[in-house]
Structure formats: structure tokens, C-alpha cells
Amino acid sequence: MKYAYFPGCSSDSSARMYENSLHKVLNMLGVSMTEIPDWSCCGASSAHVLPHIQAVGLGVRSLVAAQQMGMDLMTGCAACFHRLASSAEAMREDPGLAEQVNTIMPVPYVCKTKVLSILEVMVRALEAQPAAPAVSRTLQHIKPVCYYGCLFMRVSDDLEYDSKENPTAMERLLNAAGIESMDWNSKLECCGASATVTRPELGARLVKSIVADARDRGANAIITACPLCQLNLDLSKSDSPDDALPVFFITQILGLAWGLSPEEMEVSRVVAGNKRVSEVLA
């Protein structure tokens, strides 16, 4: 399977351990990716204060680049996924808008390029493989909850690979790595996105309730696939920093279980519960 890869703006900074681990893990799953040349920001939170046509145009700029590569687009970031999928949907549904947006594109976007999230790509890759990669490290002590956040699941059409209201893609992937995760209520709750900056008290309320739910379930780690969810939960200041829950990207944990080293998976880059990382991942 080959995809045009959209890294997103956090891939070289706050989510660099996600970027590095996802390349290695997707390679193990037989997925090949080529970075979209000269991709641009999807607009993120601020796309929601831009005129609709400009918000769509930002996404289409990168969609056209993927179209020229002849591959479907894949991204690891939930916000990028949502912006790009929404742009593609707007182009499909509104021919008048599409015509105008296409006037500034090097070639018209013909609405054939699909936008896929990393979760869908990994689930499909696992299904297509004769066998999952061998579990070569048993993570005995991790008791994780899977945190999806909002935007991977917030698309108009049904998702073929998962339920939008009670997703299990991450649980299934972790199962294939020999890890059982715990059920909980907050898998789809919002981390607040940019509210952590614009409305700190709202951001804190949202993040605290997510972390508290994980803790009440007896989890000792949170696993996510969204860079902003990871960042917001990771920087939430726990009342008792010594037992704060580490927040890992799913690719870091899969990579570890499938034999990659903690150094390669850059597990020490998590902030919350950093001192407990080695104990949780033993």
C-alpha cells in the first residue's frame, strides 16, 4: 500500500516522536509513504474563522499535490485529517465552490483522492497482512486507555473501518501487539484544542476530566494518535506530578511491542509521568 503522506506542522516539533515512530511502524506493516512535496498547513483551529472558500482552499492545495502523485492521502494528525477530509467533501458537494477554488490550483482537483487517517491505514494494513508483526517485547505492566479525541471520527460519511461513536481501532491494533486496553467513557471527549491557550480554564476543565476518568479506571497510561490531544494531556498539570499518567502515541507502543527499542521510539520525550515511563513500559 502506497500513500501520499501529509505530516502536519507538529511533526518536526512537539510531535516529533510520533513522526519518527510512525514511519518505522508503518514500514513494519508494509505501508509505504511519500511525503507530499511542499505541503502547507491545513489551517487547524484558525480555519474555523476564515471565509469558507479559503479554509477549503488551504486543504485543496495539498490535496492537489497528492492527486498529482496518484495516491490517496494519509495523515497522522486528527486536525489535519479533519480539515483535509472536510475540504475534499466541500469540493465534492459544491461544484460552484469547486470551480472557483480550482481556478488557483495548478491542475483542477477532480475529487478522486481519498483522505485517510493513520488509524484506518494501520487497521487495513494489519488486515491485509498474512500475520501481524511478531510480538517480541511483552509489555506486562502497561494498563492503557485508548484516547481518540474528536476529529479522527468526525466525518460525514460512515467510517468503514470503525464506529464513529464507539471506535475500537486503537484497541484492535494494541491487541495485535499483545496489549489489552481498558474500556472507559472519555475516548471521544474533546481535549479543548486551542482552548488551552485561548481559554485556559475551559481547557483545564476538559483535560482534567479526561485524565481523571483514565485514572479512575485504574489506567497507568493514555494512548493516543492525535498530536494536539497528546500535547494538551501531556502538559496538563497534575495535582500530584509523581503519579501523572504518561501519554504515548500509539505508534510508540506498537513499535516497542514489535521489537523496536525505547530509544528509537523516543519514549523519554513524554513530559507527564516521565519518571514512571520505564516502570509502565517494563
Binding site: 506542522c9 507538529s10 518536526d12 516539533s13 512537539s14 510531535a15 516529533r16 516522536m17 511542499d38 505541503w39 502547507s40 498547513c41 489551517g43 487547524a44 483551529s45 484558525s46 480555519a47 474555523h48 474563522v49 476564515l50 471565509p51 469558507h52 472558500i53 479559503q54 479554509a55 482552499g57 488551504l58 492545495r61 479533519h82 460552484g96 465552490l97 472557483q100 477554488v101 488557483i104 495548478p106 474528536c150 476529529l151 468526525r154 460525514s156 464513529k164 471527549e189 474533546c190 479543548g192 484544542a193 486551542s194 482552548a195 491557550v197 485561548t198 481559554r199 485556559p200 475551559l202 476543565r205 476538559l206 502538559l235 498539570k237 523519554s268 520525550r269 513524554v270 513530559v271 516521565n274
Partner: protein, 176 residues
């Protein structure tokens, strides 16, 4: 630029599923189902003055759960642009954040967390915990210094920001 609201709000039959799942139901001064209701009644001024527009986290739970394709989350995007157009300003932190983000996008074509936060804290007081967060990220090697990657073809990004919605001929003339 004039903004035309999508007509989807007429499809609402007030089931209130949107508000039931709304992330900011505790903070909202005008829940999303009421926003749609007032739009149906034609009271757009009341809607544009609502803080809900600027507290919304954009989680899109309302749009995903709406049984009748109203797309409330997308309506809010239009309403925010409409409010800005009419000179209704969001709270200072919200305004600084989006202004800085969009300015950065226009200039670089990509976002840089350091550039964004530097621009933001030029205008707002840095709290102790913000400093602590910056320090933690720096120590874990997750801060990219200023001047990270930029888009090469900047003209194509500028072209996106020059796009204007073309409803009717006369509306194009007030181009702002």
C-alpha cells in the same frame, strides 16, 4: 467580503442532539440548538453577539450527530466570519491567537508552535505554568527554534488567501 449562510439551518427540527453532546455546554451562553432556533426565527444579531461562537472548540460532535444534515459546526464557521465582518470582536486571547496563526500562515505557509506562542505572549501575560510548559517541551527536545520549515511556493498560499466567495456580481464589488 459578504457572507451568505448556508440554508441548512432550516432543516433543524430541534431534537437538541447537538447540544446534548456539545463540549462547551457548561460554558455556553447560547447553546447550539438555540443558535439554530434563533437563525430560523431570523434573529441573527442575537446569534452574532453570542460568546458561544468563540468558546466552541470545533470538536464537530454536533455536525457528526445531527440526524438531518444541518452541520451546526460549519454554520458556526460562517457565523464567526460574519461577526468579524460586522466588527464584533472575540475576547482578546481568542483574537490574538487567530490573528497570529493566520498571519503566520500567510507568511510561512506552515505553522510553528514557537512562532505562534511568541506572537501570542507578546500581547498576553505569561503565567508561571506557561513558562513551565515551554521549559518541559524544550528539555524534552520538542521545541523547534524559530525559522523552521516554510512552504517554498508562497505565491500559491497567497492565492488561497485571496479567494473570495462569489455569490452574485454586485457582492463581489465590495471586496474587502
Amino acid at each position: 467580503m459578504s457572507v451568505e449562510l448556508p440554508e441548512t439551518f432550516h432543516l433543524c427540527y430541534q431534537c437538541k442532539k447537538c447540544s446534548a453532546g456539545c463540549t462547551i455546554s457548561e460554558e455556553s451562553d447560547l447553546p447550539i440548538d438555540e443558535i439554530i432556533g434563533w437563525l430560523q426565527m431570523g434573529d441573527i444579531d442575537r446569534v452574532l453577539r453570542s460568546e458561544h461562537l468563540w468558546i466552541c472548540t470545533g470538536c464537530q460532535s454536533c455536525t457528526t450527530r445531527c440526524p438531518n444534515g444541518v452541520k451546526p459546526g460549519e454554520l458556526l464557521d460562517y457565523l464567526r466570519v460574519m461577526a468579524l465582518d460586522r466588527g464584533i470582536k472575540p475576547s482578546p486571547r481568542v483574537k490574538t491567537f487567530h490573528d497570529a496563526f493566520i498571519k503566520m500562515l500567510k507568511k510561512r505557509g506552515r505553522s510553528s508552535e514557537v512562532a505562534l506562542m511568541s506572537a501570542f505572549y507578546m500581547k498576553h501575560m505569561v503565567r508561571l505554568e506557561d513558562l513551565k510548559n515551554g521549559y518541559d517541551l524544550f528539555m524534552s527536545g520538542r521545541l523547534k527554534p524559530l525559522g523552521g520549515p516554510k512552504v517554498k511556493d508562497k505565491a500559491s498560499v497567497r492565492a488561497v488567501f485571496a479567494l473570495k466567495e462569489n455569490h452574485t456580481d454586485e457582492e463581489m464589488e465590495d471586496g474587502k
